[in-house]
């Protein structure tokens, strides 16, 4: 198995490009990671780098007969940087790492997940499925909804309290399609999904095909229309607080009286704000799950 030398330098924001250029001379590019992020407590999606904190710049060279010369040249070039008016650059740290097969190593942290009767199984694993359980084959990728987040798990838990499972069902902000696919496995005959992200729409379609459910699921790009083509008895909306507030009335228009809305993506401190908007739109809270900082609400359309 190949060994690599991992080179890491802590650099001020002004020096990141120059350090990247020096690491680039080693022939393999570099990786850059901010050491601090600034989060807006009022907006879960507002995360940005803090440029006042250092960045970690990392590169790798094969640990072979040429590595000593490469290291020496890199160290010399980094030393020269101090003279060119850029922000401070820390010492070069070098460690030896083994190529453990990065292509496959990322999979190591994934195991089948059981959320009630729903079992989420990555495509590269086989998992025995017990009587009464339903299986979803799903790989993590470029669409939210792997089953690892409390909001997804909360929605899946409340979904299993809906009895009987109505049809069709509506999934607003479908991401990977995990909620709609679970609803289909739990008895819904047809699912309609919306997402503003075209990648999510494509991923939902691909995941439906991988689970042999493509003929029962329709994934549409865009937001929930103001006027529904048909009203449904179950709406799932794992969004964020601000979008739930914005869409509250529209969610109500799409949900039949007596029907259920499962709403999540609600950071706990904004729970009252979202609850108030949904109550004003015609929903009554019937169920609530709290997991860490996140709330999932089960509501009835009155």
């Amino acid at each position: 198995m190949a060994r690599w030398l991992e080179l890491t330098v802590e650099a001020n924001v002004e020096a990141v490009e120059a350090v990247s250029e020096i690491f680039g001379r080693l022939g393999r590019g570099a990786a850059v990671r901010p050491t601090r992020l600034i989060r807006d407590p009022r907006d879960e999606l507002a995360v940005r780098e803090d440029p006042s904190a250092p960045y970690l710049v990392t590169a790798h060279v094969p640990d072979d007969g040429d590595s000593a010369a490469a290291l020496e040249a890199t160290e010399r070039a980094l030393w020269h940087l101090q003279a060119f008016g850029l922000g401070p650059v820390g010492a070069l740290h070098v460690s030896s790492v083994e190529d453990s097969g990065w292509e496959a190593a990322w999979k190591a942290g994934y195991t089948p997940q059981r959320i009630g009767r729903v079992v989420i199984v990555p495509s590269w694993l086989d998992e025995p499925i017990a009587d009464g359980e339903v299986e979803l084959r799903l790989d993590p990728g470029m669409a939210f909804g792997t089953g690892l987040h409390p909001t997804t798990r909360g929605c899946l838990a409340l979904l299993q309290r809906v009895d009987p499972m109505p049809s069709p069902i509506l999934d607003v902000g479908c991401g990977s399609g995990i909620l709609a696919l679970a609803a289909l496995r739990l008895g819904a005959r047809r699912a309609i999904c919306y997402d503003t992200d075209p990648l999510a729409v494509a991923t939902t379609g691909a995941n439906a095909a991988a689970n042999a459910l493509a003929d029962r699921l329709e994934a549409r790009r865009g937001t929930l229309p103001a006027v529904p083509a048909e009203r449904v008895r179950l709406v799932m909306a794992n969004l964020v607080a601000a979008v739930l507030v914005e869409l509250a009335e529209r969610l109500a228009v799409h949900c039949r009286r007596g029907g259920t809305l499962i709403a999540s993506g609600i950071i706990a401190e904004r729970g009252e704000e979202v609850g108030s908007a949904l109550r004003a739109a015609g929903f009554v809270e019937r169920d609530r799950l709290e997991d860490g900082d996140w709330l999932t609400l089960g509501l009835e359309r009155t």
């Binding site: 020096a15 990786a31 995360v47 190529d99 669409a143 991401g175």
Partner: protein, 141 residues
């Protein structure tokens, strides 16, 4: 589905030719990101930029899903093109390999402005000028 962000990271990889080798594999692998899905998408998006090393900014969500955007080429690549040189200097304090004008510097700074976390164009120009000097590229009027 709305996304809850865990962290942000950046990798610089050859356009159209990224592989699971460093820097991509270790950088993404430690966050449990689907490396092959990233590589496939990155190579598709950057196929037309062959020959450049392209930075990608990856947003990692709390459930290990991710998204990414590609950025302008590294300042070093833009400087080498503007100066008409193949490589930077190994001894930038003594051996100069080329020069760029203030106007070229400004153009590069404006191209890279969004990626540099600079306060304004003047700050971005100062960063690019420092990078140029560290490569043995002089900045002239």
């Amino acid at each position: 589905m709305a996304k809850k962000i865990r962290t942000i990271l950046k990798v610089q990889a050859p356009a159209g030719k990224a592989t699971a080798a460093p820097p991509v594999g270790p950088a993404l692998g430690q966050h449990g990101i689907n490396i092959m899905e990233f590589i496939k998408a990155f190579n598709e998006r950057t196929a037309s930029q062959a020959g450049y090393v392209v930075p990608a900014e990856i947003t990692v969500f709390e459930d290990r899903s991710f998204s990414f955007v590609t950025k302008a080429p590294l300042a070093a690549a833009l400087l080498k093109r503007a100066a008409g040189v193949e490589a930077g200097s190994a001894q930038p304090n003594r051996e100069k390999v080329g020069r760029v004008t203030q106007a070229q510097l400004r153009e590069i700074a404006e191209t890279k402005m969004a990626d540099l976390n600079a306060n304004d164009v003047d700050h971005a120009m100062r960063i690019i000028a420092g990078t140029a000097r560290s490569m043995g590229i002089e900045v002239v009027a």
